[in-house]
Structures are given as C-alpha cells and as structure tokens.
C-alpha cells in the first residue's frame, strides 16, 4: 500500500490571492511610504537649514539667553542659558495648570451639584452659567479678563486697597507675604504632626467601628486637629510670624506676594471655562446612578447623608473620573493660550522667544511637543490604572 500523507488544509491559493500575503505587502508598502516621507522631510529640512545658516543640535540650550522673563519660579536672569528658559516656562505652565485644576474642580463640582439642586432658581443659574461659558471661545474669555477687566483697573498710585494690606491695580494683585523667622519651624512640625495624627485617628476610628460598631466623628476631629495643633504651636512659639506688606515703590508695588495680571487673567479664564465642562460631567455622573440605588439605600434606613456618601458618590465617581482627567489634560493644553497675553508659559517663553532668537525650530518644537506628550501619557497611564482598579465586576 502506498502511504499517502493527507494534508487537511486545502491547497494554498496563489500568493497574491492570500489575504495574509496581501496584508503583509500592504503594510510593508505603507511603512515604506511613511519612511520615505520622513526621510524626504528630514532631507529638505537639513538642506533648508543649511542654506539659511541655522545650526542644528541641542548645543543652543547652554548658550546665554539674554532676555528677561517677567515671572519665574526658578531663579532666572537674562545671563542664564536657553536651557534655563525651558525650566522657567515649564514651571510657569505647571503652576497655572495646578492653580486652574484646583479652582476648576471646586467650582465645577459646586455648579454641577447646583444644576441638580431642588432650588429652581439655583438650578437655572447653574444652567445659564454652563451654557454661556462653554459656548464662548476660551481665548476670547482670556482677552476679556486681561484687556477689558484687569487693564481697566486703576494704576498703582490709585490702587484699590483693603486695609492697607491687599492692593489691586492694573499691574496685578498684591498680598502681604509671610516672613518666617527662626521659631516658625515649630509650626511646620505641628502641621506635620497634625497630618500624622489625622491619619492615625482615621485608622483607629475605622478599626474601632469595625470592632465595636461605634461611629467616630472622624471628619470633625480631623479638621479640628489640622487647625488647632499648628495654632497651638504658633502661640507657644510666641507668634513668630511677620507679614511683609506690599508698598508703593516708585511706579509699582514691592514686597509681599504679587500675582501678575497675566497669571490672574489666565487662571480666571481657565478655571471658569473648564468648570463649565466639569459641571456637566459631575451632573451626568450623579444622574448616572439610578433612582433605584438611592431608593434601595433609603429603604435600608440609611439617612440622606450616608446614602450620598456610601452609595451615590462611590458610583458617580467611577463615571466622573475618566472624563474629568481628560478635562484636566485639556486645561493643561489650554494653558498654552498664555502666549496670547504674554504670560511666560512654556509655549510663550520657549516656543516663542527662545525659538525666535535661536531659529532652531525643529529642536524647540520637538522638545515642547515631547513635554505635552509626556504629560498626556502620564495622565492616560493614571487613567488606565484607575479604571482597572475600580471597574465594576461583571461576568
């Protein structure tokens, strides 16, 4: 008998009819096109830069910048390097983003809850706010606050003032700044101690509730600890704090803490604008928790406050957090509008002045984009971790 090997597969098609071969060829061609396009662009760019006498490489980062920046969180003056301008811009971007995120979150949650208020007037006003603010371009709002409101404030000599300590004029907002002498360390220690104590109390209270069922007023005690301990230390140390008042020196104020109008306008506009989106997210998050859940909770005898805290909020937060983080990301990106009013953020300083002076567009744009890409990747990484942690188990 002749042994026959039985091939269970049908005879293979001609290679150009095989979908796998087709897919492979198609992919190779696209990759080649992309590579070729990239290669051509790089070639063009290099020859263009050469003919215009623009140098390449990252050496410019060590060269002296030679321009001043109106606001910097890291030490800076005009003799420092272009690399330093990057850090000044980045820290300014992060500052206004952080301030904006905090304010927009607080405001957004308040308005979102107000939108669902049983008080008709409050709900309507929240709705009007949301529909007004989110349908007007952010840049226009920034201009409005900067050019129409803050610029129309009186000059430093005619500042609006509150009790000789707080000054508002068209150069910015001036607050008394604390000066912390020797003894103030005790207060820092007390704050640290209070935080440790709060963590301890929370743990202890939870343990005790689990063991004996007694509920401890954790929130009230925590707040009291956080306020009283540092206050006590402050008094014991003999009130070791002096305030430096802003004072008119020549044409402008010196001393204390100052908030430049560019920062104030940007912060205000970013917070108000983003808050209107956060409010809608909060509203739909709360509405996503079905009526049945609150009814079941009430039927179990849980009072309104506990129903909110144990049933509604944990479920609403799952719905709220993902779009909320993407709003935060939008806010960080939108903070780049700073350049339109001259707040020295990353784009204004680095992609603006530094790029103009050095002409090294490719390097500067690449660095700037890399920063935003990193921020965005970090946030989406956080999102993925969070989603995996809280995903509601279904089968």
């Amino acid at each position: 008998m002749k042994k026959q090997t039985i091939d269970s597969r049908p005879a293979g098609p001609k290679p150009w009819y095989d979908p796998r071969v087709r897919a492979l060829v198609f992919q190779v061609i696209s990759l080649a096109v992309v590579c070729w396009a990239g290669w051509t662009l790089i070639g063009n760019t290099l020859s263009n830069m050469e003919s215009r006498g623009i140098s390449t490489g990252f050496g410019f980062l060590d060269e002296s910048a030679g321009f001043g920046i109106i606001m910097h969180l890291v030490p800076y003056d005009a003799t420092m390097s272009y690399g330093r301008t990057f850090w000044v811009g980045l820290t300014n971007t992060l500052l206004v983003s952080a301030m904006g995120i905090v304010a927009a979150t607080i405001l957004g949650f308040l308005i979102g809850v107000a939108r669902l208020s049983s008080n008709w007037l409050v709900a309507r006003i929240a709705l009007a706010y949301i529909e007004l603010i989110r349908n007007i371009p952010l840049l226009l709002q920034i201009f409005f606050w900067y050019f129409a409101v803050l610029s129309n404030l009186p000059s430093p000599r005619q500042s609006m003032e509150v009790g000789g300590a707080l000054f508002l004029n068209n150069r910015g907002l001036y607050l008394p700044g604390p000066i912390t002498p020797e003894g103030f360390g005790l207060v820092w220690g007390a704050i640290l101690l209070a935080i440790v104590a709060v963590v301890g109390v929370r743990k202890w209270a939870k343990k005790r509730q689990m063991a004996t069922g007694k509920i401890f007023p954790t929130v009230k005690v925590s707040v009291a600890l956080l306020i009283l301990l540092p206050l006590l230390a402050f008094v014991i140390a003999g009130l070791p704090l002096e305030w430096e008042l802003p004072a008119l020196k020549g044409f402008n104020f010196g001393g204390g803490i100052s908030l430049i109008p560019e920062l104030a306008a940007l912060w205000l506009a970013l917070s108000l604008y983003t808050a209107s989106f956060i409010a809608e997210i909060v509203r739909s998050g709360i509405l996503s928790v079905s009526q049945g859940q609150t009814e079941a909770s009430k039927a179990l005898g849980l009072p309104n406050g506990l129903t909110l805290r144990l049933v509604v909020i944990p479920q609403a937060m799952r719905v709220i957090i993902p779009p909320l983080t993407s709003q935060y990301l939008n806010l960080v990106k939108n903070s780049s509008l700073a350049t339109a009013i001259g707040y020295p953020d990353l784009v204004a300083v680095f992609m603006g002045t530094t790029l103009n002076q050095t002409g090294q567009a490719v390097e500067v744009v690449a660095i700037t984009m890399a920063v935003y890409l990193t921020i965005s990747l970090l946030i989406s990484l956080f999102m993925n971790v969070y989603n995996r942690a809280v995903a509601i188990k279904e089968r």
Partner: protein, 261 residues
C-alpha cells in the same frame, strides 16, 4: 378586617406577642400633580400577617406599598407603622425605614460592593453593629437564602434569581419587623422564579409580617392570610385566599382573575 389567621404550623414559635395593627393606613390619598393615583385607602395589618396585593398594572399597588416606607409621600390621610406616624419629619421616616425591609422588582443591589458588603452596609452604619457581628449575621441570612458561597462576589457576577435572594438577605440583615415585596419575581427569567418564591415561602413560615405585590397567584394561595385586589387606585376587594379565588364578589375582580388564571 384585620383578623389574624394563623394557618401556618411553623409560625407558632417566634411570635410571642402578636401586635395588632402594626401597619395602619387610614383614609389615605395620593396625587401625582392633579392625577389621583390612590383613593381613600384603608388597611390594617397585624403583626405576623401576610398580605398579597394584586391588580392590573397601573392600579397603584406599587405606589401604595412604596408609601408605607415613604419612598412616595401621601397627601391626605394617615399611615402609622409600628406606632410611628409618617409625616414630613425626617426622624420618623428614618425610624420607620429601619424597621421596614423592602425588596424591589429590579433588585437594586449596590454594584460597587460585594454581596457581603451589600448585606453589612446598613447594619454597620445604621444599627452600629461591629463588623464581625454584622458579617456573621449576614452569612447566616445568606445561608438561609442558600447562597453563602457567593458572599465575596459582586452583584454583576450573579444571576437574576441569585441577586434577588441577596436582596432579600440584605433586607433581613436589618432585622426588620415588616417586609415589603414590590413585584420581586417580575424581572426574573421563568426558571429563576421558583428559587426566589421558595425563599419567600420559607420567610412567611417564620412569622414575618409581609406585604407582597405580586402576580404569583400560587404564592398567594399557599401563603397569604389575605389577598387585596386593587384597581384604579382603589382597594376593590379584600378576602382570605380561599374565598378570593373561589368566590370573588366584585365584577372587576372576576374579570381580572379570568385574565390571569
């Protein structure tokens, strides 16, 4: 009205004192806007009594039992549960809800908590029971509804019948005096109805005061002390099951029974 019938042999034990009129509804009306949903309802339920409410959809039967723990508010008349009258006073409402358990058509388990956490939530936060005790008690009830092995799962991982049994256990964990059932089997697949009804029959046998809105006429026949028929927001007929099913007095009841049986 309100004569207690103890036909059930198991109910002899726990009920030392039989409190008459643990639920009293007197001349109760409810409107949604101008729409008159509940019209002059009167009902007295004694402790340990088992009432089944039936009627066509839209007859107001669900609204009625939801008024008993104030998930809906009534606008005229009185509702007195365990000597506490339901008014706008939040303290009264909370104290009534502590004593009245409720099981919903759509289970309404908390999806973010495990089965055990669902059961312990209210004992821990409302009755202030230590966690270990609450969990031990919850496990007992879960055994009673025959799903102790699912305690660490999330509601979304259970079948409808299992979820509804968890919901019953969750309500029982508060050790309520009264249990309300709002169409507990209507949202279930046919093969799961029996497992839930079995639990309810067992519960009835233990002497629990129960009010059930249901279309399960078999359940009504075997368990109920009284059957109440509602239509158009009114109580049309009220009778022991033997009488209700064999010899209905009102034409509307007869018509309803013809359609359903």
């Amino acid at each position: 009205m309100g004569t207690t019938m103890t036909q059930h042999p198991e109910s002899k034990d726990s009920q030392a004192e039989k409190k008459p009129g643990i639920i009293r509804v007197e001349g109760m009306h409810k409107w949604y806007g101008d729409f008159h949903v509940l019209k002059d309802l009167n009902l007295a339920v004694d402790q340990g009594e088992r009432i089944v409410i039936c009627g066509p959809s839209g007859s107001g039967k669900s609204t009625f039992i939801r008024c008993i723990n104030r998930l809906e508010e009534h606008q005229q008349g009185r509702i007195i549960v365990d000597d506490v009258e339901l008014t706008d006073d939040v303290r009264h409402i909370d104290s009534v809800r502590r004593e009245v358990g409720m099981v919903f058509q759509h289970f309404n388990l908390f999806p973010h908590l495990t089965v055990l956490e669902n059961c312990c939530l209210s004992p821990i936060w409302v009755r202030k029971v230590p966690r270990r005790e609450a969990e031990a008690a919850a496990m007992e009830y879960l055994e009673r509804v025959k799903i102790p092995d699912q305690a660490t799962k999330y509601p979304g991982q259970l079948s409808g019948g299992q979820q509804q049994r968890v919901a019953i256990a969750r309500a029982l964990c508060m050790k309520p005096k009264i249990m309300l059932f709002d169409e507990p089997t209507s949202a279930l697949d046919p093969e799961m109805i029996k497992e839930v009804l079995d639990v309810m029959v067992e519960l009835a046998g233990s002497g629990m005061t129960m009010i059930c809105v249901t279309h399960e006429m078999g359940f009504a026949k075997t368990v109920a002390d009284r059957v109440i028929f509602m239509d158009g927001g009114e109580i049309v007929e009220e009778a022991p099951p033997s009488e209700f099913f064999s010899n209905p007095r009102e034409a509307r009841t007869q018509k309803f029974l013809q359609q359903i049986l």
